[in-house]
């Protein structure tokens, strides 16, 4: 956005139209010499060459543009940018996402559980305001994908790159929570939150979910656990990232509701049940509204003055007109 320190100066632009009229269209204007053809001893004047008329017109045009730029520059133009400075620390949030093969369950149409979970996380993160977010995924093992930080672009890029069964066939839920806790250890945030999204029971890893939840509770971390999917027989389809082989079939779906409830209770969080993509969306919206803190901000306004650029361009344009007319076209006055 452009602002002016002295907007009143822009009123001087109003002198341009009368000046242009007087300089180029007024009948009695000076700088012209009338004379009689009868006393002219040389060849009769011929109409001007089109190209030179065009150059003369362009030259005058440059002059008036230059004049206009000088008048604008005199009003003190500046480019204004605003930056919101956060004076308070946000909430640290780590998503712990199950990427075991069962997350390919096709009861979350049009995609599957895994893609639906990724979509709601994306929406959730885009809606956050200066809260550091991190990402842990787990299969047979658990790894940190994104450390908690404010680089949302980096987060979303890495979330998009997640693949089912990248970490083997298994559900190391306890390990996932433990890894998230480990990476929240250095956090200075007053509130730390883990959002666990899974569709299965802990069946891999050295740490039990209850033990991991106790560690989280000791560190003051709240865990929201979300059980994804319906119970019973569910169709499944996924591609093994290592072999590229496509697997299709039916499997007996069901997560351990008791453990998820227990984890949330230990850490003063909440347990949610997502039977459909719509329900998952609503759950994430609820967590989003539950985990909001008041933030103090300040608006910094940075102005970059552009008068110098305008003066320089205006100055050059006027001189181009001057040299063209006086040197090339031999204008007397």
């Amino acid at each position: 956005m452009i602002t002016f320190d002295f907007p009143g100066m822009l009123l001087f632009i109003a002198i341009l139209p009368p000046l242009i009229f007087l300089r180029h269209f007024w009948k009695n204007r000076g700088g012209r010499l009338s004379f009689s053809f009868t006393i002219w001893q040389k060849e009769v004047f011929k109409p001007g060459i089109y190209l030179s008329n065009l150059i003369l017109f362009l030259s005058s045009f440059l002059f008036w543009i230059g004049f206009l730029l000088l008048l604008i520059a005199n009003a003190g133009p500046s480019l204004v940018s605003r930056e919101r400075i956060y004076l308070t620390r946000g909430i640290d949030i780590i998503f712990v996402l199950d990427e075991s093969p069962s997350m390919a369950g096709k009861d979350f149409l049009p995609d599957n559980r895994f893609e639906s979970a990724k979509d709601v996380i994306k929406t959730f993160v885009k809606g956050r305001d200066h809260d550091p977010v991190g990402l842990v995924s787990f299969g047979k093992n658990a790894v940190l994908r994104v450390p908690p930080g404010l680089d949302y672009e980096y987060f979303l890029e890495h979330l998009e790159g997640l693949q089912l069964m990248d970490l083997g066939n298994g559900t190391a839920m306890g390990m996932g929570i433990a890894v998230a806790c480990l990476h929240l250890d250095k956090s200075t945030a007053k509130e730390k939150v883990i959002i666990l999204l899974t569709d299965g029971d802990n069946n891999a890893g050295e740490i039990l979910p209850e033990s991991a939840a106790n560690i989280a509770a000791a560190m003051g971390i709240k865990i929201y656990s979300v059980g994804i999917g319906s119970s019973g027989e569910v169709p499944l389809e996924f591609t093994d990232p290592e072999t590229g082989k496509i697997y299709r079939g039916m499997f007996e779906s069901g997560y351990n509701e008791e453990i998820l409830k227990e984890i949330s209770e230990i850490t003063r969080g909440e347990f949610f049940q997502a039977l459909s993509p719509g329900a998952l969306n609503t759950i994430m919206s609820s967590i989003d509204s539950l985990e909001r803190i008041e933030k103090r901000t300040r608006l910094d306004i940075n102005t970059t003055s552009i008068h110098r650029e305008l003066i320089l361009i205006g100055f050059i344009l006027i001189l181009v007109d001057f040299f063209l007319k006086k040197w090339i076209f031999r204008e007397v006055l």
């Binding site: 002295f6 001087f12 002198i15 000046l19 007087l22 300089r23 007024w26 009695n28 204007r29 000076g30 700088g31 012209r32 010499l33 009338s34 004379f35 006393i39 004049f67 000088l70 008048l71 520059a73 005199n74 003190g76 930056e83 919101r84 400075i85 956060y86 200066h130 550091p132 991190g134 940190l144 994104v146 450390p147 908690p148 930080g149 404010l150 680089d151 980096y154 480990l182 990476h183 929240l184 250890d185 250095k186 956090s187 200075t188 003055s305 008068h307 110098r308 003066i311 320089l312 100055f315 006027i318 001189l319 001057f322 040299f323 006086k326 040197w327 031999r330 204008e331 007397v332 006055l333």
Partner: protein
């Protein structure tokens, strides 16, 4: 005080301007007497002389005052003080093949990663990011308080993690600049680890950019001026096209050249006090409040005069004198 003295170079326009004006005077007289005829030549010459004198004077004054406006005379202004609330450090590591040189024990790259670990240990509570560069810069870890994520990655840094060739310093620094997040009053510091050898990219405009964005850069020169041989995976010394053994040296001159502005520092990684010295610099930067004096530009006085002169210059021509021209 003049903040843009480079504008005075425009005064070199004046000699050609005088030349054109003088030439116009001579030719103008000749052309007028040819066009106007002898019977009114006296009157024409009088008006021409006066008009030529004033229009020449006015265009010269316009040029002089425009240049003075461009020179930005400043004065007065307000002093503002901004304090910071922490430091964000972006470790930017060159992982080109030459960083495996062993003229620094155990290797240039290993010494760099050891120093990074020492920084993390000695600067608790700060935020860190890790960028590596070869043919281009890549953000490995975004800005985070979670220093363990940086420490976890450090042992795995080596030239083979990316297939691109070369040592694009510009891309590395640019990726580091883009790693900082906005919306906070934190000091921004880039710690650059490179031997500066066979670098590519244009770094000439970077110093201006980092100054504008209030970023400090500490350049850690890895390697020695004597250099070292480089070895292939099979353990054989690398040989160039002419059959000579390749010697890799630190490009000290380049790295020192980069550290020309007040916010860019050069340190040698082989210096025994490099850690203490650089932590001193970081702490000074972290504790230092940004004091800026926004002096007011007085360009408007000169620009208004320049506009007035160009207005009068047009008017001299527009209005006919003595009912002549």
């Amino acid at each position: 005080m003049v903040s843009r003295p480079d504008a005075f170079l425009l005064f070199f326009i004046l000699p050609p301007l005088f030349f054109v004006l003088f030439k116009r005077y001579k030719r103008g007289k000749r052309d007028l007497s040819a066009i106007g005829g002898k019977w009114r030549s006296g009157l024409l010459m009088d008006v021409f002389l006066i008009k030529w004198f004033f229009s020449s004077l006015l265009i010269i004054l316009f040029v002089i005052f425009s240049i003075l406006a461009l020179a930005e005379f400043t004065g007065g202004g307000k002093t503002t003080v901004e304090s910071s609330s922490g430091v964000d450090l972006v470790f930017t590591v060159d992982i080109s093949g030459s960083m495996l040189g062993t003229d620094v024990y155990p290797s240039r790259l290993k010494r760099s990663t050891d120093l990074i670990s020492a920084f993390i240990e000695n600067l608790p509570g700060e935020r860190f990011s890790l960028v590596v560069f070869k043919g281009s810069g890549i953000k490995i870890i975004p800005i985070t308080e979670d220093s363990s994520s940086v420490n976890t990655v450090l042992p795995y840094l080596n030239p083979d993690i990316f297939s691109s060739e070369g040592s694009n310093l510009e891309s590395g620094i640019r990726t580091a600049i883009n790693s900082f997040t906005s919306g906070e009053e934190r000091k921004k510091i880039i710690l650059l680890f490179t031997d500066g050898e066979s670098f590519s990219g244009n770094t000439s405009l970077l110093s201006k950019e980092v100054k504008l964005k209030e970023i400090t850069i500490l350049i850690f020169g890895t390697g020695t001026d004597q250099g070292t041989e480089l070895y292939s995976l099979s353990g054989e010394p690398l040989i160039d096209d002419k059959g000579n053994i390749v010697i890799s040296r630190q490009n000290t001159a380049l790295l020192q050249e980069l550290a020309v502005s007040e916010n860019i520092f050069y340190l040698n990684i082989s210096d025994s006090s490099v850690l203490n010295n650089s932590i001193d610099i970081i702490n000074k930067q972290a504790g230092a409040a940004v004091i800026s004096n926004n002096k007011e530009s007085r360009y408007q006085i000169f620009l208004s005069a320049a506009i007035l002169f160009i207005f009068l210059y047009i008017s001299v021509r527009i209005f006919p004198w003595k009912n002549t021209f």
